[in-house]
């Protein structure tokens, strides 16, 4: 099935030599996707500030343009032209490189996400593997930021980063395995086509684990340890201002957008939808997932570091293992009998496991004798 990009390249190669057509098509594709991503990030910044306002019974920014549409543009422009302060004893290179290492992987994720029927930048047949690989690079960037800015609070945040993102990488990858088992291939377009019944219904436990793991990966509430502003002042980006801080700020929202897109593609059936055009369905699902993330941020308090780790290792990891085993067994026998039987067993499995785990494990009472 030819994606739009390949058709465009075929049309170009008629007029230009092979390498030129390939190059131009690639660049145009990148610009289109980047354009889409950055505008969506700007809209999401506005959307979150307004939604947070709604949750906190106050009006969000509404002075610039109708309903404050131009507010994020003013914010972004202001942050960009602010003075760029580099602390004197900071490790210059690491300090300068950190925002790039955080921001670029976020954009790379969008290469594999099928935005609409044929609109995918690179239809890799190892799409999911690419996602996982790129997703964990930003942890290094955050650690570089924490270490590079020579600030005690940032250092604590850096330590917490490595612990949190590494330990949540495992449940996220294992729950992805559940999806890959059901689809039978790693390619993202095949995943979307296989989702006659969206996977959130087929394997609720897998979705739950992936969603919680994704929350921890993009350090949003209730796992937002990294820039826990009530404890470690501004976390890893305490010493950043100006352009570098803008990249962190946009990076954070980019991460949220990236994971929202991944969740819609893998669990909510990407662009599949009955009546509306596919691209609109994709946008609706992404905005729905993002609203859920903002809703969690507005309400839930934060977990402590050791409770976070206990939740990952004692809670999500074993559940993900059991989930893969059950899905594998289902794929062998049950799926030929009827799809709805699989759904029923998975829902029962989810309920039983969650109840068992909530009884068995107590999240760390951790008072260390000193």
């Amino acid at each position: 099935m030819m994606t739009l990009l390949e058709e465009f390249r075929a049309w170009l190669s008629a007029a230009l030599p092979e390498w030129a057509a390939y190059l131009i098509a690639g660049i145009v594709g990148i610009f289109v996707v980047l354009g889409f991503v950055l505008t969506l990030v700007i809209v999401f910044i506005w959307y979150e500030r307004r939604l947070l306002g709604r949750f906190q019974i106050r009006l969000g920014p509404n002075r610039l343009g109708p309903e404050g549409i131009f507010q994020p543009i003013a914010t972004a422009l202001k942050i960009l032209i602010k003075e760029d302060v580099v602390p004197e004893k900071a490790d210059r290179v690491v300090h300068w490189l950190a925002p790039i290492v955080v921001f670029v992987p976020v954009l790379m994720v969008f290469a594999v996400i099928p935005l609409s029927q044929g609109a995918i930048l690179a239809d890799l047949n190892v799409g999911v593997l690419y996602l996982v690989a790129v997703g964990s690079v930003s942890a290094v960037g955050i650690y570089m930021a924490g270490w590079g800015s020579n600030n005690k609070y940032a250092l604590i945040a850096a330590m917490r980063t490595v612990a949190q993102i590494v330990s949540y990488e495992l449940p996220v990858v294992l729950s992805l395995l559940g999806v890959v088992l059901m689809v039978g291939s790693l390619s993202m377009t095949k995943t979307v086509e296989a989702q006659v019944v969206p996977f959130i219904v087929m394997q609720p436990l897998g979705f739950l684990i992936f969603f919680l793991g994704a929350l921890a990966e993009m350090n949003r509430c209730p796992f937002d340890l990294l820039e826990a502003d009530s404890e470690i002042v501004a976390g890893y980006h305490t010493e950043y201002s100006g352009m570098k801080f803008a990249m962190f700020y946009l990076g954070e929202y980019g991460h949220a957008l990236a994971y929202a897109c991944i969740i819609t593609t893998l669990f909510l059936g990407g662009w599949r939808g009955p009546v509306l055009p596919p691209f609109l369905w994709f946008l609706i699902k992404v905005v729905a997932v993002f609203s859920l993330i903002v809703w969690l941020r507005a309400t839930l308090p934060r977990l402590r570091v050791d409770q976070l780790m206990a939740f990952a290792w004692k809670g999500l990891f074993p559940m993900a293992l059991i989930n893969i085993f059950v899905v594998a067994v289902e794929m062998l026998w049950l799926v030929d009998i009827s799809r709805w039987l699989v759904v029923a067993t998975n829902i029962v499995l989810a309920v039983v496991l969650i109840l068992a785990w909530s009884r068995l494990f107590v999240l760390g009472r951790g008072r260390v004798e000193v």
Binding site: L52, C221, E231, P301, L303
Partner: protein, 367 residues
């Protein structure tokens, strides 16, 4: 080969999101675990006790407003009671009731802020605080009707209160009294069973009963540790003996109990205000006192159950128009004596939560 680790001294400095003002803690950390803690205070020391020695008794009332700026009415109430006790001045009935209504409304407002910012320290992004602020704005409107100011009221005088309540005050107060229990149920329903709140506060920062008494803790911090000691019941001042209300007492003395005691105290305060509004008599609101007021030589120690604990005023007068010495007993400073023992062994996140559960106000600590 043992890896030599070095303790890591962190300054939770005077300007920090959750030190509730300018409080500094020099924390020695081993990784995330707190090994030692030394509070450093005095960043808001304005020398109120020295200034009080050069002001007449009535001029000191605005000074007391700025002590615990979350409970200005109660500060006025405590100071004015001490002066009347030394001067033997009798206050008319209506003024007594007005004082009780204002003091209890202030307690609700202060506890709302305490619980709100406690949740904020736990990480809930400003949302609980803003909902509790909605109630506090109602109380501030009531105070604004009475004395025209939102925060520093300067409402009470030696011998009564400065102004009578306008006629739209009582209907607004009645509406507030009917709504408030429903709002408190809403908070309890949303917060008391919140899984993450329970996990973060149950058993954290325990202040045992004996230590609480030994460090002279008072108010919700003492009652959460299981000591049933409330000055409104133990040593009833003004007309508190005419109202019936319970004193909520915690069991283990951990952060959750301090949060729970404050929520229950809000309910009891609404009951007191309701009874006071029913029994509010007519009559004049202030006894004519010859200005400038001269108190007989002598000394007095008047104490009041402020929202944060036992607020005491030790007043020594030598017969002149200004007090010879005025000492203010700061409940929050003394509640902080055991902060070091409560925090050692816990992590940074718990340090912030435990400090938030003690509910300090720097204006009162540093005076």
């Amino acid at each position: 080969m043992t890896l030599k680790t070095e303790p890591f001294i962190l300054n939770v400095g005077p300007q920090h999101p959750s030190t509730h003002g300018v409080f500094r803690m020099r924390v020695t950390l081993d990784g995330e675990v707190v090994v030692d803690l030394e509070p450093v205070i005095g960043y808001l020391h304005r020398g109120i006790e020295k200034l009080a020695e050069s002001r007449t008794y009535t001029q000191i009332i605005p000074l007391t407003d700025r002590l615990d700026y979350l409970a200005s009415m109660t500060n006025n109430f405590g100071y004015v009671l001490a002066v009347e006790k030394l001067g033997g001045i009798k206050v008319p009935e209506r003024a007594e009731y007005l004082r009780i209504i204002m003091a209890e409304l202030m307690r609700i407002s202060s506890h709302l802020m305490a619980v709100g910012f406690f949740l904020n320290d736990l990480g809930a992004m400003m949302t609980p605080v803003l909902y509790m602020w909605r109630e506090r704005e109602k109380i501030m409107d009531l105070f604004e009707m009475v004395c025209g100011q939102r925060l520093t009221y300067n409402y009470m005088r030696v011998g009564g209160v400065s102004q009578d309540i306008p006629d739209e005050f009582l209907p607004a107060l009645k509406r507030f009294i009917d709504e408030m229990p429903r709002f408190i149920d809403e908070y309890e329903q949303l917060l008391s069973q919140n899984e993450i709140l329970l996990v973060r506060t149950k058993g954290v920062g325990v202040l045992p009963r004996e230590t609480a008494i030994n460090i002279g803790a008072s108010g919700p911090v003492l009652r959460a540790s299981g000591v049933k000691w409330d000055i409104r019941k133990a040593d009833p001042y003004s007309i508190y003996d005419r109202f019936d209300f319970e004193v909520p007492v915690g069991s283990t003395g951990d952060c959750y109990d301090r949060y729970w005691v404050r929520i229950q105290e809000m309910r009891q305060s609404v009951r007191i205000v309701a009874q006071a509004v029913k029994q509010l008599p007519a009559g004049e609101i202030c006894v004519k006192v010859k200005q400038p007021l001269r108190l007989p030589a002598g000394e007095v120690y008047g104490h009041v159950e402020a929202p944060k604990g036992e607020l005491g005023f030790y007043l020594v007068s030598d017969g002149s128009i200004a007090p010879y010495r005025l000492h203010i007993r700061p409940p929050t400073l003394i509640n902080l004596t055991a902060l070091r023992d409560m925090v050692i062994g816990w992590k940074i996140a718990d340090l912030i939560v435990i400090f938030g559960s003690i509910d300090v106000c720097l204006g009162e600590i540093d005076r």
